[in-house]
């Protein structure tokens, strides 16, 4: 069964190897993270690249050894190669090498960890970030003790909230949630932190960073949090201090560059009976979260879902009646939508948002 290897085989092997090397080279560029835009991210970027190079060296060495051995030591005849059972010295050496690499890596990463998780005593702004299914709320905390004029930015699953921050000042986030776990993630900052609904006894997570360049950075929830997890986006706008002050002042004055949140939207009432809704038309205010009080009078499943064309923006829980449930819908931009029972697509009506 053991035929000596044929020469052309080697050549095609080499050619495949060269191709592979090319692909690897091309991808190596992709293996570098996005350009870092906070002071912390710059340190992480450096650490990442050091570790990537270390990993790359290990990869090339080990993979090269495998490929070389396979090419070089193919079976030629029935003779038995020398039977080597082990060698304590080399085994010791190759236990030591990874140990050293691991120690270096650990020291570097712990130093970076300590440095990026240092909290400043006087952050430029402190923002309470609330993650909820499926939108973000940014609540700028100030010291005036009067919550009525606080700057609060509320996003929706369609329209991510914008967080403005001043460039060059430490920004402190307090991350809270009252439903499920989310995660605040801005790729350009090379950082994320989970937004956890913790029991009272625990302090909420905090995250601090100092943005170094003006610009808009997109962010997204990175912890799976249910149906519309993929739509839980936001963006961070870093601007000079004066612009930032103007931005907050504008929101305070009600000239909303981003929608602000009034207390509690309206409650819409709908009911379903004999596989039909009792109304064909609903109305809600633009950009404001609202509630739908849905009564199912049938003994089987219905719900209310809100669709924009072929895209479902909100899906109410499906349940069978007779029962009533209240859905919380995050704000929608102005426009006409359809509301549908997802179990019975023929049950529809129009939702007007203005």
């Amino acid at each position: 069964m053991s035929r000596p290897m044929a020469r052309p085989r080697t050549r095609s092997f080499l050619r495949a190897g060269a191709l592979l090397a090319l692909v690897l080279l091309a991808t190596a560029c992709g293996m570098v993270p996005p350009e870092p835009h906070t002071t912390e991210a710059k340190e992480v970027f450096w650490l990442y690249n050091v570790i990537l190079v270390m990993g790359g060296i290990v990869f090339v060495a080990v993979e090269g050894f495998i490929v070389y051995s396979v090419l070089r030591y193919r079976r030629r005849d029935d003779r038995l190669p020398t039977q080597i059972h082990g060698n304590n010295l080399v085994e010791l050496i190759w236990t030591a090498i990874p140990t050293v690499i691991v120690l270096i890596l650990f020291v570097l990463s712990t130093l970076t960890l300590n440095s990026v998780s240092q909290a400043s005593t006087h952050p430029g702004v402190t923002i309470e970030v609330e993650g909820k299914q499926w939108s973000w709320v940014f609540h700028y905390l100030d010291d005036d003790g009067d919550p009525s004029n606080d700057v609060i930015v509320q996003g929706t699953a369609l329209d991510g909230a914008v967080m403005a921050v001043p460039v060059g000042e430490p920004v402190k986030l307090i991350l809270i949630s009252n439903d499920v776990i989310h995660s605040f993630y801005v790729p350009a900052f090379l950082v994320k932190r989970d937004v956890v609904p913790l029991p009272e006894a625990k302090k909420p997570n905090e995250l601090e960073f100092t943005v170094t360049e003006k610009g808009t950075y997109s962010g997204q929830c990175a912890e799976f949090c249910g149906d519309l997890h993929a739509r839980m986006t936001f963006s961070v706008q870093a601007m000079a201090r004066p612009d930032f002050d103007a931005w907050t002042a504008a929101i305070r004055a009600g000239e909303t560059p981003a929608p602000s949140v009034p207390a509690g939207g309206g409650v819409l009432k709908v009911s379903a009976k004999n596989t039909a809704f009792d109304t064909k038309a609903l109305e809600a205010a633009a950009g404001q979260p609202f509630k739908i009080e849905f009564t199912n009078d049938d003994s089987f499943d219905h719900n209310v879902g809100i669709w924009n064309g072929s895209e479902e923006l909100f899906r109410g829980e499906i349940f069978s009646g007779p029962a009533t449930k209240t859905y919380d819908v995050s704000g929608l931009p102005a426009g006409d939508y359809t509301f549908v029972c997802d179990v019975h697509p023929a049950m529809t009506g129009t939702l007007t948002v203005k």
Binding site: P199, E200, A201, K202
Partner: protein, 207 residues
């Protein structure tokens, strides 16, 4: 783990049948039981971890929810604890009896153990009705019923095992040489007892 394995067999033996597997050391069913108990230890370990976690994040006094009476070791908890501990001794007397080859005595000890075990269970169920809080009444209620409930289920399982032992003993199936099942069930029973002692001290004393 106390599994003992003979490893110093002569290197030169050549057997002509594979069926000659090792009879030396601990009987295989006992090994199986010990391994099973190792997994049970981890299971209860997980539940205990949940208990201590709930305690650690609890604000205010740790104990039954407001409105319910304090946990008392009288009149139920301490007496049934004593009963369960006693049943470990009666079980062991049964094991010693069969090691001597006295099958009748072993059956009687087993039956006594069974009675004690069932008494424990009845006591525990009665206690549940007196506590004044339920599994859905806050973190304490949840961990209390989950831990004691799973322990109770294990006692019940042990009681079933004891019943089988007693029945088999009545038919004369055990002997001085041949009583692995008795040893196995006794180990399990002792384990269940130890878990209860840990539970009892955690729930009632460690406050």
């Amino acid at each position: 783990m106390t599994v003992q394995v003979p490893t110093s067999m002569s290197a030169d033996t050549t057997t002509h049948t594979a069926l000659a597997h090792r009879e030396a050391g601990m009987p295989t069913p006992l090994v199986g039981m010990l391994l099973f108990i190792a997994s049970e230890v981890m299971f209860f370990g997980g539940l205990f971890a949940s208990y201590f976690n709930a305690r650690a994040v609890h604000i205010g006094e740790w104990g039954p929810p407001a409105g319910a009476p304090e946990l008392e070791i009288f009149p139920i908890a301490l007496p049934i604890t004593i009963i369960l501990v006693a049943s470990s001794f009666t079980m062991q007397f049964g094991v010693w009896a069969i090691r001597r080859g006295d099958q009748r005595a072993m059956r009687n000890w087993t039956l006594l153990t069974l009675v004690l075990g069932v008494t424990f269970l009845i006591g525990q169920i009665y206690d549940y009705t007196q506590l004044g809080f339920g599994i859905s009444d806050g973190a304490f209620g949840t961990v209390f019923y989950t831990l004691t409930g799973f322990h109770g289920a294990h006692v019940f399982g042990g009681a079933v095992g004891l019943t089988i032992l007693a029945a088999r003993a009545s038919q004369g199936q055990f002997s001085k040489q041949n009583h692995v099942a008795v040893e196995a069930i006794s180990i399990y029973w002792h384990f269940v007892d130890v878990v209860w002692i840990a539970l009892f001290s955690t729930l009632y004393f460690l406050r």
